[in-house]
């Protein structure tokens, strides 16, 4: 789960990590009010969307006058930003963060993430903050210090000291940086993060260390024990079809193609997408109805696919294991009737009770296109789209 920059900063603050003075602004009135509060010092306005690259997209600006502030805030709120990461749909700006524009001497990077191969939390520190850590890591790997954290030990002072000394950060900042590192680590653990990064973490002209931007992602599997985090979820930043799907426990991700696909199981769903691509078409989505899909879930999956105006063909690929194909076929038939689906539907059913399942589909009177295996199904999908492959 992702949260906004301002929410991440509030979390940092609750862990005693310094952040710039500022507040969230949702309208003109808020903007005027913060201008008065901050007594005319230069402010920075930052659009709050779940995406990086906001600066290039025009979502970040330093303002020096009240008019500038109010104008810019008015322009931003309610608009949609298109960054490198958002894709063609962009992301709506519902609120902006207005805070003091700090003057700083140096930008650092500090982040925690999980190293899957070593099965541990990893601290990354760089003396070159302000750009993406992946970029620093690929361009000047010697400037990124990596500390693997032993689960038995947790983050240790010697690791912090080592990482900071090796990045050539003046040792007079060691104590403050060490305290921030430990706090961020504690936040990572206590809130079940999958990523917690401060970038840039700046050294101001007054030698203070302040988190100027932050990105915190959470482990979806652990949200059950963090209602306080779950409450930070902003559905405006997610695709509405995905939000809808999630309500029914369906794993759905919107993509840019026109073949709507519904599959049971994540691996088979990805393989199905890949197969669609192989025959020259493009998947419109990833949709995993689960290994143990019920006919109800199949119906809801159908609805989601139909809500997507890009979809021209529907491809259902089910491998019934424990789930019986006849149960499933009944679900499909029922949903197709009820929803009055007019798009061509290619179905491939395999597994337990497949014969009975196929009989149900044939006898339904629906104009379903059936296939004996995944390969044939994909070709029929291409055919339905008028592609010659």
């Amino acid at each position: 789960m992702k949260i906004h920059e301002y929410q991440a900063k509030n979390l940092l603050k609750s862990y005693s990590i310094p952040i710039p003075k500022g507040t969230i602004v949702k309208n003109k009135k808020d903007a005027i009010s913060i201008w008065e509060d901050m007594k005319g010092i230069p402010l920075v306005v930052k659009a709050q969307i779940h995406s990086g690259g906001r600066g290039k997209a025009g979502g970040v600006k330093i303002v020096n006058t009240k008019e500038e502030l109010v104008d810019y805030v008015s322009t931003l709120i309610g608009t949609v930003l298109y960054t490198e990461q958002t894709g063609k749909d962009g992301m709506p700006v519902e609120c902006v963060l207005v805070e003091e524009a700090l003057k700083f001497k140096k930008e650092l990077y500090l982040g925690f993430t999980i190293d899957r191969a070593r099965a541990c939390i990893t601290m990354l520190v760089s003396s070159e903050g302000g750009v993406e850590i992946e970029k620093i890591a690929s361009q000047s790997p010697e400037k990124v210090m990596i500390e693997h954290i032993e689960p038995l030990l947790g983050l240790r002072d010697f690791q912090i000291t080592r990482a900071l000394l090796l990045t050539n950060i003046d040792s007079k900042y060691l104590r403050k940086l060490s305290s921030i590192s430990k706090s961020l680590y504690r936040l990572f653990i206590e809130k079940d993060c999958s990523l917690a990064e401060i970038n840039p973490l700046v050294i101001t002209e007054d030698d203070e260390i302040v988190a100027v931007d932050a990105k915190i992602n959470f482990d979806d599997n652990a949200l059950f024990r963090h209602p306080e985090i779950l409450s930070l979820r902003d559905y405006t930043q997610e695709n509405h079809l995905e939000v809808e799907a999630a309500k029914y426990n369906l794993n759905y991700i919107k993509l840019k193609g026109n073949v709507g696909c519904m599959v049971n199981g994540a691996g088979l769903a990805m393989a199905t997408m890949d197969l669609i691509k192989l025959v020259g078409a493009e998947p419109a989505n990833f949709l995993d109805v689960g290994d143990g899909a019920t006919s109800q879930m199949v119906k809801e999956g159908f609805k989601i696919l139909l809500l997507d105006k890009d979809v021209k063909v529907i491809f259902i690929n089910i491998f019934g294991g424990i789930l019986r194909c006849d149960t499933l076929a009944r679900g499909i038939v029922e949903a197709a009737y009820e929803l009055q689906v007019e798009l061509p539907i290619v179905i491939r059913l395999e597994g337990t009770n497949v014969e009975e399942g196929k009989r149900i589909l044939t006898e339904s009177g629906l104009s379903l296109i059936t296939a004996k295996d995944m390969g044939e199904a994909a070709l029929k999908v291409a055919g339905a789209l008028g592609l010659t492959s």
Binding site: R116, N221, L268, D291
Partner: protein, 292 residues
């Protein structure tokens, strides 16, 4: 032969009286798995399908001979269940639960290792040595005894591959789902080593997907130690970056874990990578009859 589990494996079921646990315990018994005990705290002293239930794993372990355990316990308690099994001295742990928090798994991973136990999963369909022992949720009937070893991160895609093989008369020695989570116990490389040593396995199929570097690790190992042919398929060539594709572990992050890199690394190690998931059986047949 087979790896890890066979006809003699005596199996405990943790969470035996829950919905999932009860259903699959029946399925496993039907398949012929030797289920010897169950655990449900507070229900100790009772029986399920004639199998004695204990309150704790250590009690079960003291009273019965147990080689492996199948864990059907909800996500908030599953990590604890694994730890309990390891602490009690069980050496093969299969955790079916999906949705265990990643940080819980970090601790589990290292504890399992420190006690020389092996963990399959979590978020796995389990392990099956066809005709001998099934510890998991896969449909038993699609499998066939034979000489192909299968290691996979997913459920239905594995069934698909198994089925492609079985209907063409190609059986399997052992099929293992390593689990779709970012942190799992045994990985491709660990199982590949076991299959290399198993006399009855003549070819290994690796079914991988985006996320992490487990497939690459297997490739690095294979490059230096290849003995048997390996056929691989990597799902997610069309998956976008930064999105979790169903499995918690199937995500391309920070430019790492994309399918193209995995395919390239596997091919460089001398592994046949199939592009079309409908044609995995074909590649297996080619490799099997071309021989090595």
């Amino acid at each position: 032969m087979s790896i890890l589990v066979d006809k003699n494996t005596r199996v405990l079921v943790q969470g035996i009286t829950g919905n999932e646990g009860a259903f699959h315990t029946r399925q496993m018994i039907e398949y012929g798995t030797n289920i010897v005990a169950g655990v449900t705290p507070g229900k100790g002293g009772g029986f399920f399908e004639g199998i004695p239930i204990f309150n704790t794993v250590s009690e079960a372990k003291k009273r019965m001979e147990i080689d492996a355990t199948a864990i059907f316990v909800p996500p908030p308690f599953a990590a604890d269940a694994i730890l309990e099994a390891v602490e009690s001295g069980i050496k093969i742990i299969v955790c079916l639960t999906e949705g265990i928090p990643t940080l819980d798994m970090l601790t589990v991973f290292h504890y399992v290792k420190s006690k020389d136990a092996v963990l399959i999963g979590p978020n796995t369909p389990g392990i099956i040595s066809p005709g001998k022992c099934k510890i998991g949720v896969m449909a038993g009937y699609i499998h066939k005894e034979g000489s192909i070893g299968i290691i996979s991160r997913s459920g239905t895609l594995t069934y698909e591959v198994v089925y492609q093989l079985s209907i063409r008369g190609i059986g399997q020695s052992t099929c293992i789902g390593i689990g779709g989570d970012p942190i799992v116990g045994l990985k491709y490389v660990d199982l590949l080593k076991m299959f290399e040593k198993d006399d009855d396995t003549e070819l290994v199929v690796i079914i991988g997907e985006i996320g992490g570097t487990a497939e690459e690790e297997a490739a690095y190992y294979y490059k230096k130690n290849k003995k048997k042919p390996v056929v691989a398929f990597i799902a997610g060539v069309t998956a976008p970056s930064g999105r979790r594709m169903g499995h918690a572990g199937a995500i391309i992050t920070g430019g790492k874990g994309d399918a193209t890199t995995k395919i390239k690394t596997l091919e460089e190690a001398g592994i046949t990578v199939v592009k079309n998931p409908a044609e995995i059986w074909q590649a297996v047949m080619d490799a099997k009859y071309k021989k090595y």
